[in-house]
């Protein structure tokens, strides 16, 4: 009798519990997402993020779009036009503001305030993600663009021990390397790479001029002496590049670079990942900030972010909340940066422990210092400073300048200003 009643009670309670369990399953937070990250360390990082999401009780539905950023944006546009945008998608810089106008986004102010996140994000960065006063996107990782890498073997060959601090020192060192038969600058031939060289040059000459010319598109600054000097420095850089590289990633030159056949690389922080994945060690290269003429720390910032599109389904909305909370947390950002070689967005991240490379520590310290010196700027070549039409028009001029030795700096400067006017 007792057994029966106990069984009956158990059965009864199970009958009550099961609908509850079923309801919880149906409401499991779900996230649909598209990014361009299908391979390499980016692919590994987004996969790890997905696993973390699932460990926290969500259903992860990520569809990488093969190709480059344009293909991903194409897919995003197609899905928005079809009325079915993903719950979250990769998007960065001023494009966040532009795209937020064509489809409704989610107001993340509540989640952000609850996590107290805004206090830990650099103000220039925050402004990009709350373009009209409300948080609609969240940044995930940061890279410093103006980073200099030097091959240990190449440095030894010319008897140099420390990285050049100003452009004059850099040009000196490059000259020595060329005389010793080393190709001074390892470079890829891709458009944004060429544009990146110019922006590193300009920022190295004067971050203030960079801010006015590139971020504010001030005509006086664009026609000013610093921009002209940047073109001249870029011409020098172009002359020091490997003449036989053709529209490839710079990473195909990692092996010659470490062997000492090429001397230096001006690239974002991810280059460290290229080198380590090529099977080399930290002892094989030096890294630090790119030349900065005024001696104070500066930082050209590149950040990836996710934008959240309004959804009707309850489980997608729950998934968005869960994901947002997740990527604001320090452990998540640290895990992500460990894999890709970036640094976490949060300014309270402590990179002194193991697992962080010197390049990453230097980048994080550089950010802190640059914030103090108010010399943090946004990268042009990586679509942070301007929306795509203007960026593309400017890069057209810059990439042609790098490859066309007949184009004079003065003429290029004029063309740059004209290109910006026509793209507006």
């Amino acid at each position: 009798m007792v057994d029966l009643s106990r069984r009956a009670v158990l059965a009864g309670s199970a009958a009550v519990a099961i609908p509850g369990v079923a309801r919880a399953q149906a409401g499991k937070p779900r996230l649909t997402m598209i990014t361009q990250w299908s391979a390499g360390s980016d692919g590994a990082a987004i996969t790890a993020l997905g696993k973390l999401f699932e460990q926290n009780g969500g259903i992860w539905q990520h569809s990488p779009v093969p190709g480059f950023t344009t293909d991903m944006m194409n897919k995003l546009r197609a899905e928005i036009m079809a009325g079915d945008p993903p719950a979250a998608s990769q998007l960065k810089g001023p494009e966040i503001a532009a795209w937020s106008k064509i489809a409704p986004t989610v107001d993340l102010d509540g989640v952000v305030a609850a996590a107290g996140y805004e206090a830990f994000v650099a103000p220039e960065l925050a402004a990009l993600h709350k373009p009209y006063g409300h948080w609609i996107a969240l940044p995930l990782q940061l890279y410093r663009i103006n980073t200099l890498f030097a091959s240990k073997k190449a440095m030894d060959k010319v008897g140099a021990t420390k990285l050049p601090g100003t452009w004059a020192e850099f040009n000196d060192l490059a000259g020595k390397m060329k005389a010793a038969g080393i190709i001074p600058l390892a470079n890829g031939g891709i458009r944004w790479d060429d544009g990146m060289k110019w922006e590193i040059a300009l920022n190295g000459i004067s971050p203030a001029a960079y801010r006015k010319a590139v971020m504010e598109l001030d005509t006086d600054a664009l026609m000013g002496p610093e921009v002209l000097a940047a073109f001249e420095q870029t011409r020098k850089l172009a002359d020091w590049m490997n003449p036989s590289i053709a529209a490839q990633s710079w990473s195909v030159q990692v092996a010659p670079f470490i062997r000492g056949e090429m001397g230096m690389v001006l690239m974002g922080g991810w280059a460290q990942g290229n080198i380590i994945n090529g099977g080399f060690t930290f002892a094989d290269f030096l890294s630090g900030p790119a030349p900065q003429d005024n001696g104070r720390a500066s930082y050209i910032m590149n950040a990836d972010a996710f934008i959240f599109w309004q959804q009707k389904a309850a489980d997608l909305q729950a998934g968005q909340q869960l994901f947002a909370k997740l990527i604001m947390q320090l452990p998540t950002q640290e895990m992500y940066s460990h894999i890709t070689g970036s640094i976490p967005v949060r300014t309270d991240a402590d990179l002194s422990g193991t697992g962080w490379s010197d390049a990453q520590r230097s980048s994080a310290q550089g950010l802190k210092d640059a914030v103090k010196e108010k010399q943090v700027v946004l990268s042009l070549a990586h679509n942070m400073a301007q929306p795509n039409p203007i960026t593309a028009a400017m890069i057209d001029v810059l990439t042609e300048f790098v490859h066309n030795k007949d184009l004079q700096p003065k003429e290029a400067q004029q063309r740059l200003a004209d290109a910006i006017d026509s793209a507006r």
């Binding site: 996969t47 093969p66 194409n74 197609a78 990633s249």
Partner: protein, 283 residues
Amino acid sequence: MNRQAQPGWAIYALLVLLAAFFLTPFVVVVLTSLRPNQEMAQHSLIGWPHAITLQNYSMAWGQFCIAERCTGVAPYIMNSLLMTVPATIISTLLGAVAGFSVALWRFRGDTVVFGLVLVGVFLPEQMRLIPWVIVLRDIGLSNTIAGLVVVHVVQGLSFTTLFCRNYYTAIPQDLIKAARIDGAGFYRIFWRIILPLSPPILIVCTIWQFTGIWNEFLYGVTFLTGLDQPITAAIIAISATVTTTPQYGVQSAAVLLAAVPTLAVYLFGGKYFMRGLTAGAVR
């Protein structure tokens, strides 16, 4: 032109030289696919392999990871088949019907209609992308393989109609007139007279369409997602690495695997392709 005499050695020498030019890329890809990736980093891309491995193939077929999905290219090849085969068959058959009606059945305004169909051959695909997004959305086939089949059928109709129409103009009008007088209708004439005469041009259409649709990239990436994507998308995913060094060995293996169906089509259908063209695909 000595059709009787044996061609001289100069002819053969020239042919072999040209064959070498045409074969070199293929040979390079095959050799690259057999070399381990590390070897490419140390030696040049073109060269005899120092070590042979089939690992690139197994990686490309079943293990290669595109973000979370480590399925290799096998499922994507399946998707391409699911998309290409129906689209090829439908567009070829419809093209034959349309070509017949424009060439032989005649009706008011047929030249104008054919002219418009012809323009479709020349329209660039970039400008059709956004309109197709809207159309697929309105008929509810966004993000499906069926939707992409519709796109390729409608666009392929231009080619197949052109080919078939040029071919059918060789059939004497009197034959059709006689059949009509005898009381045969549209379908009967098509089935009994036209279709039996069509194999060469149908093969030309099939080969052309299969190759074109199989190798198409832009629409495949934009209109399909995730595991539904065609093989062209997967190839791009393998090649488009920005922050890591390209893996030429796996890329080559994947490219070869992806090219097997179309290569097979040309291998077996090449002769019929020639015959179909001989029968007057172009006028």
